[in-house]
Symmetry: C2
Subunit: 228 residues, 2 copies
Amino acid sequence: MYEDLNRERLLLAVDCIVFGFDGDFLKVLLIKRGFEPERGKWSLVGGFLQTDEVLEDAAARILNQYTGLDDIYMDQVATFSKIDRDPEDRIVSTAYYALIDINQHSQKLSKQFSAQWFNIEDFPPLIFDHGEMVTAALKRLRTKAQTEPIGFELLPEKFTMRQLQTLYEAIWNVTLDKRNFSSKIRSFNFLRKLDEKDKSTSRKGAFLFRFDADLYDQHDRSRTTLNL
Amino acid sequence: MYEDLNRERLLLAVDCIVFGFDGDFLKVLLIKRGFEPERGKWSLVGGFLQTDEVLEDAAARILNQYTGLDDIYMDQVATFSKIDRDPEDRIVSTAYYALIDINQHSQKLSKQFSAQWFNIEDFPPLIFDHGEMVTAALKRLRTKAQTEPIGFELLPEKFTMRQLQTLYEAIWNVTLDKRNFSSKIRSFNFLRKLDEKDKSTSRKGAFLFRFDADLYDQHDRSRTTLNL
DNA sequence: CCAAAAGTGTTACTGCTACACCCATGT
DNA sequence: ACATGGGTGTAGCAGTAACACTTTTGG
């Protein structure tokens, strides 16, 4: 290797694209920055990688700071390095997305950080390159949801077939046929149908399901795409 | 945001997984390290991000240093941050993979850096977390090759149907039926069949094809997977 | 004339898409 | 009794997988 004389020590940030689902729309959590630079503008939640941390831990720590949640599904998206992405310093940032059950997100924390949920198709201009990060994260989520059962991370533990369908419709911005959706999903054999019904949306009530990781592990993984 | 008191300036490295195809196998380029730490062990080619560079430029610069090639397809894989991944310093590294035509790779440079091509299914132990990087890069290549016509980056400009098939067989470690492969590929309408034949592998000679980016751009992208 | 690779088409099957009616229940 | 959402099956279609023989030509 040649000597890298210009090698530079820099700050490595972690920014989190927090996705949630409110029953109708796929949402992203943004905060109104309470500090400079760009105070008062919308931004992703983020922070800096610390000495004793790996990126995944930093992402989890930051997510916890802003949502109070632990043990959340997160996935690395990419690392962004434009020279002037932060005007004050050379900061490279690794983006992670998180999938949370929007109802577990503490209202209190939301107030504390002036956080708000925005529809993924319609969020305000963001500072720096955070808009690109959201776009990249969404793309990754869409792809990932095609091969792995991660949709459940966005729902309560128990959910109806209808909720699940609406979720996937929101993720891919499509409309699906409920008969095809339901038979396809059931053919994967990773849902356990419960005896309970959710009566909040109809008089008849809809059966609740639960994602069952054991069933998923047994299940033959030869069909690689969910192609709902 | 809380004050990040432990925020740390660190070195950001870039490591490149250079893929090549020798006509039979998918290969990865490794160098025998000529410097400490871990002198004499096998390693990916890498370097440090410099002050005036974005990651993509650093990756291209490093690739050029070791192969002499310019204007090469590269794609970010992920950023690796284990605390002691480099025993001497806290170094975080972003991995990129590159797809090159193995025959354009200068033998001279190969000698200079004690570089060698290894079959992707059978490469030696690597320093640090470079083995994980190769695994992650291969996984990404396999996925990407399913939705984008990147295989051509690994072949000479003109290639036979047979070469293309062998390439995809090597990427996915499968065997394909040549009739199905050829009709599927031709149905995508992004190959231009030339009048020339390659007579090096048979008396009859095999027609040469060329990937045509214009045809690809016109072509309806509704079929998102190549599913060869 | 023979060996070796190139080139090509058909059939069965599987999975996807499209589509409509009855059910259960609270008011 | 009716309005509302829940739940289910089938038939046509499209794309995939499996499969074998003829062509070309250098030696």
